[in-house]
């Protein structure tokens, strides 16, 4: 706790197990679906 009282130089965000995978899947699906929509509508 004493360390936190000092000037914190950097506030990191720790990964929670499992979520990097969830993020990866969601993002991939999102990008693919968005490309599909744009492809179909701009065709």
């Amino acid at each position: 706790m004493e360390k936190e009282r000092e000037e914190l130089m950097e506030l990191k965000h720790e990964a929670v197990p499992g979520f990097p995978t969830v993020f990866g899947i969601t993002f991939s699906v999102g990008v693919l679906y968005l490309i599909l929509i744009l492809y179909l509508s701009l065709k």
């Binding site: 706790m1 936190e4 009282r5 000037e7 914190l8 130089m9 950097e10 506030l11 990191k12 965000h13 720790e14 990964a15 929670v16 979520f19 990097p20 969830v22 993020f23 990866g24 969601t26 993002f27």
Partner: protein
């Protein structure tokens, strides 16, 4: 009409009066002035009032129409809120600056001619600079100076543009200009500097976070919105504004994501929101101009609310960096709630203000069939929720526990935030009231199922992105660091300029100075002692340089040593007379060629 006064006059009179007051009378004055001003505005009829004849021109202090009234109402309203927030500031010059700044903003809005506009425009810069200096830190002093320099430059552009415009047209009327010619371009840029256009924006993100806690609230409301008003007045439908505005909505959000100072995050999002208004002005249809005005009104309130909430945190803890605060919802739940109302409003959540105002602009973009602009604005809408809507409240009131346990801010600050929060919700729930004061009739219904669901999807999936990025450990860490911006060119460029002036330029100047004050008189003195001999020496130097013979050199040395006394080479009378004749001939030629032909 019979009892009304020029809108700027009340506040400017108050600015001088407040100097002499302390305690209750001062508080009374600060709160009553905006109320009086609002009553004054309500009693003015449309049209042109308060004309003063100055030389050949008419100065107009009251051009009253729906556009100027809409800005007048909101300026008066926000001055009440900000004065209430600043009620406990025991520094009279700051109140004077506030009233002067508010008064001159109203002066700009109701100015009917460019001269009046310019005068109030300059007073605004001075009032604003005081808010920055009043923080009394080294950083704020420097930032205030930079602020003033930029705005003096902007005012200068405006002045040049106006002078050229008056010279070209003979009219000083402040009305529609449109972009064409150098005069209008200079005025355009003058407005653009106050409007924080990309590249010209750094005075804002540089200075606002350095201003006093209460000063930033005033600053966020007036300068940029006056510029929006001026653009809406003089340049509606100027196509380049659409692109300028779109870039304004886009680039600040990237900086906001990696910025640590939370008031600087809000400054970036201020540019982003003004970008939406600039797009609206660029489109220039009635729907778009309504949207720009409505969004300016909504933005003044929710941006003030957010700055007030961050100011409350700074006031209670002395800290404002994301790395230093956190977990404050435990002891500041009410401030936290107000902050989240502001966050929801800026993000355009249904039932909050921007939902009813920003959509007018986006609707106008869609109606004008501008898909790229539309994609940029939706991207920026998602982005603004990301950094202003989530980042601000999350890192201040939640995230990690910083160990800080500040109390809620004083009652007047809470009341000011409460009123602003109420207005945010009121505009969101009953947009009809706001729509009724816009410049043109509004035929738009924001609350359709399609619009609500689309907006909710956009926002919730932005939030989902934030949540997943944090949980996956990808979200960039908050860091104590500064991020360079376009002002790097000015601030480092200034150093280069200083080096350039002190080193090469001053060396050259010193040389010239030496030559003119020292070497030249000495030479003339030397030459004057015996001109023919001196000329002979000069000729011999040339001869020696060509021939390089020893005997020439010896002769030259001898001539130099005996120089002034040597009169062995007097000019013959013939040579002297011929040289005089030659000079006379040259004189005659010049006389005939130049004067005679010039006269004809």
């Amino acid at each position: 009409m019979s009892f009304s006064v020029p809108p700027a006059a009340l506040f400017i009179a108050g600015a001088f009066l407040v100097v002499f007051l302390r305690g209750m009378p001062r508080s009374f004055l600060l709160l009553v002035l905006p109320v009086l001003s609002l009553l004054n505005l309500l009693s003015i009829s449309d049209g042109i009032h308060w004309i003063i004849h100055f030389m050949d021109y008419k100065l107009i202090f009251g051009r009253v129409d729906r556009l100027s009234l809409a800005f007048g109402y909101i300026f008066t309203m926000i001055s009440f809120i900000a004065n209430l927030y600043a009620l406990r500031v025991d520094n009279n010059p700051e109140h004077t600056a506030a009233l002067l700044y508010t008064g001159s903003s109203l002066g700009v809005v109701f100015a009917g001619d460019f001269l009046t506009l310019l005068i109030f425009w300059e007073i605004m810069s001075i009032g604003a600079a005081y808010f920055i200096w009043a923080r009394r830190t080294t950083a704020s002093y420097a930032a205030g100076m930079r602020y003033l320099l930029v705005h003096i430059f902007g005012g200068f552009c405006l002045l040049c543009g106006i002078l050229m415009h008056v010279h070209n047209t003979g009219s000083i009327e402040f009305g529609y200009l449109g972009l064409g010619g150098l005069a209008s371009l200079l005025i355009f840029i003058g407005f653009g500097i106050n409007c924080a256009w990309p590249g010209l924006h750094t005075w804002l993100t540089d200075a606002y976070p350095e201003a006093t806690i209460t000063g930033t609230v005033f600053l966020s409301a007036f300068t940029t919105k006056c510029a929006v008003y001026a653009l809406a007045r003089s340049f509606p439908g100027t196509e380049i504004l659409i692109w300028i505005g779109a870039i304004m909505t886009l680039f600040p959000i990237f900086f906001a994501v990696i910025e640590n100072d939370l008031r600087r995050v809000l400054s970036y999002s201020l540019i982003n929101q003004v970008g939406f208004m600039v797009v609206g002005i660029g489109i220039g249809t009635h729907l778009a101009l309504n949207g720009a005005t409505a969004h300016a009104i909504a933005d003044i309130i929710f941006k003030a609310l957010l700055f007030m909430a961050m100011g409350a945190v700074l006031h209670q803890t002395g800290k404002i960096n994301a790395t230093e605060v956190g977990g404050l919802h435990r002891t500041m739940p009410i401030t936290c709630t107000f902050c989240m109302v502001g966050a929801a409003s800026i993000s355009a959540f249904p039932l909050f203000s921007a939902f009813a105002t920003k959509s007018l602009i986006i609707e106008a973009v869609a109606a004008g069939h501008m898909p790229i602009i539309w994609f940029i604005l939706i991207f920026a809408s998602a982005g603004v929720f990301h950094h202003a809507g989530i980042k601000i409240p999350f890192f201040t009131f939640f995230a990690r526990d910083s160990g800080l346990r500040p109390k809620e801010p004083p009652l007047n600050m809470m009341a000011a935030m409460g009123i602003a929060a109420f207005l945010c919700v009121f505009i969101g729930v009953c947009p009809g009231f706001l729509y009724s004061i816009l410049p043109y009739p509004v035929d738009y219904q924001p609350y359709t199922p399609c619009h609500i669901v689309a907006q909710l999807q956009l926002l919730f999936f932005s939030a989902l992105a934030f949540t997943l990025l944090i949980l996956a450990g990808i979200y960039p860490p908050e860091m104590r660091a500064i991020n360079l911006d376009a002002d790097w060119f000015l601030r480092k460029g200034a150093n280069v300029l200083v080096w350039f002036i002190t080193k090469p330029v001053s060396a050259v100047v010193a040389k010239i100075n030496d030559a003119v004050t020292d070497a030249l008189p000495k030479f003339l003195l030397w030459f004057g002692k015996n001109p023919p001999a001196a000329l002979k020496i000069g000729a011999d130097i040339i001869v020696y340089n060509f021939t390089d013979r020893a005997e020439d050199r010896q002769r030259l040395e001898k001539e130099k040593i005996i120089y002034p006394r040597d009169l062995l080479y007097p000019w013959s009378i013939g040579a002297a007379v011929s040289s005089v004749l030659i000079f006379l001939l040259i004189y005659l030629l010049v006389y005939f060629l130049y004067y005679k032909t010039g006269a004809a």
